[in-house]
Subunit: 197 residues, 2 copies
DNA sequence: GCAAGCCTAACGAACGTTCGAACGGGTGTC
DNA sequence: GACACCCGTTCGAACGTTCGTTAGGCTTGC
């Protein structure tokens, strides 16, 4: 139990926010899940919105920092893209609650704390730009066959992000099977990469 | 203004739920948008949850009923799929607020009115089954090249549903361009249909 | 005079948040 | 070793507000 109280709170709040939504969960419910009283939460976070901000920022940063650097060493564009998308799907599966909160409750920050929304969005943009760069380079190198790198990026992102909408641990596929199949759809089919392994 | 008061309420509530979320919008706010008092809403809906149910059911049924029958007359599987996906994207764009509520707040019904959740889910399943049938038939007829109709259906659905996550009227594409491009990605690239027009 | 439609008023509960006090372990002083 | 002191942590109680909902009465058109 190397968890600090602050981390315990973030963990419990993430789970509750992901399951019921930000506004459906009261501070007292979060405190109950940790085993303290509602008022004690304010020792760690000045407001409920700050708590949401901490969750969204942590999850966004954690994803970007662990995923992007790993692909630099792979030689082919198709290989880099495949590796990145695979890591994306697996990470989003492993941290699906954090990412669900990060995606769904962002507009809450947008309305009530615009500068924090922009902060998180700009981090997200780094990732999307990096992905688009890989695709764009692959097109220039004639490794991919598609004429619009921007639209292809959006399509591929929409595809891989949709896994969490339907995937269940108890279903007919394992997450590894889905990751493989979706990467193949994105790299070989959508982008038309031919010689990849 | 052929709108009945009941329809006005549904319209206003849809807009507010889509923008702020179900729990963030109070009955008084909905009433304000219509120009009546909060208590008057209970003349039309017995509870807030019933109002949400009406929105989710209406939007789901309207989509299914207007989309599915249209494609029966088209000869090729690829043509049917293309037409269906195109209508899907355009419909989801035109009714993006209703569909956003229908997608995001469904778990609210799932927790607090399970039988209504099942009702809506079963309608949705009709559509997904119909889509999978088209894809499956196309594979059997060797018009599509993919080995898993179920996974292909999920991928294609995830792809077309993702448009509303990023599309903005003021962006660089029109919705028609996006619909064309995404249909092409789904039909020609993911499913590998060759001779289509 | 009936019913639909809308109102005011109020209910108890829950909301996010604030406040001041109490607890308990560690440190410094005698 | 005993003592006072501090500070991180938690608590109970309460603040004012808003929540979903109910009850009852007024107006209007058939």
């Amino acid at each position: 139990m190397g968890l600090s109280r602050r981390e315990e709170i973030i963990l419990a709040a993430t789970e509750l926010f992901a399951k019921h939504g930000f506004h459906a969960v009261g501070m007292r419910a979060i405190a109950d899940a940790v085993g303290i009283r509602g008022s004690s939460l304010y020792h760690y976070f000045p407001s409920k919105l700050d708590l949401l901000h901490a969750i969204a920022l942590d999850s966004t940063r954690a994803f970007i920092e662990t995923q992007l650097p790993d692909v630099e060493s792979i030689p082919s564009h198709a290989g880099r893209l495949r590796q990145l998308l695979r890591a994306h799907i697996l990470y989003f599966h492993e941290h699906r609650q954090e990412e669900a909160v990060g995606l769904r409750e962002l507009q809450e920050l947008r309305e009530n704390a615009p500068e924090r929304y922009i902060e998180i969005q700009s981090i997200r943009r780094v990732y999307q730009t990096g992905l688009e760069r890989i695709i764009s380079d692959g097109i220039d190198a004639a490794e991919f066959v598609y004429d619009d790198a921007h639209l292809a990026t959006l399509a591929v992102l929409g595809l891989v992000n949709s896994v969490n909408d339907w995937f269940r641990e108890t279903g007919r596929y394992s997450i590894d099977e889905v990751a493989d199949a979706y990467c193949d759809i994105a790299v070989s089919r959508i982008l038309g990469a031919r010689s990849v392994r």
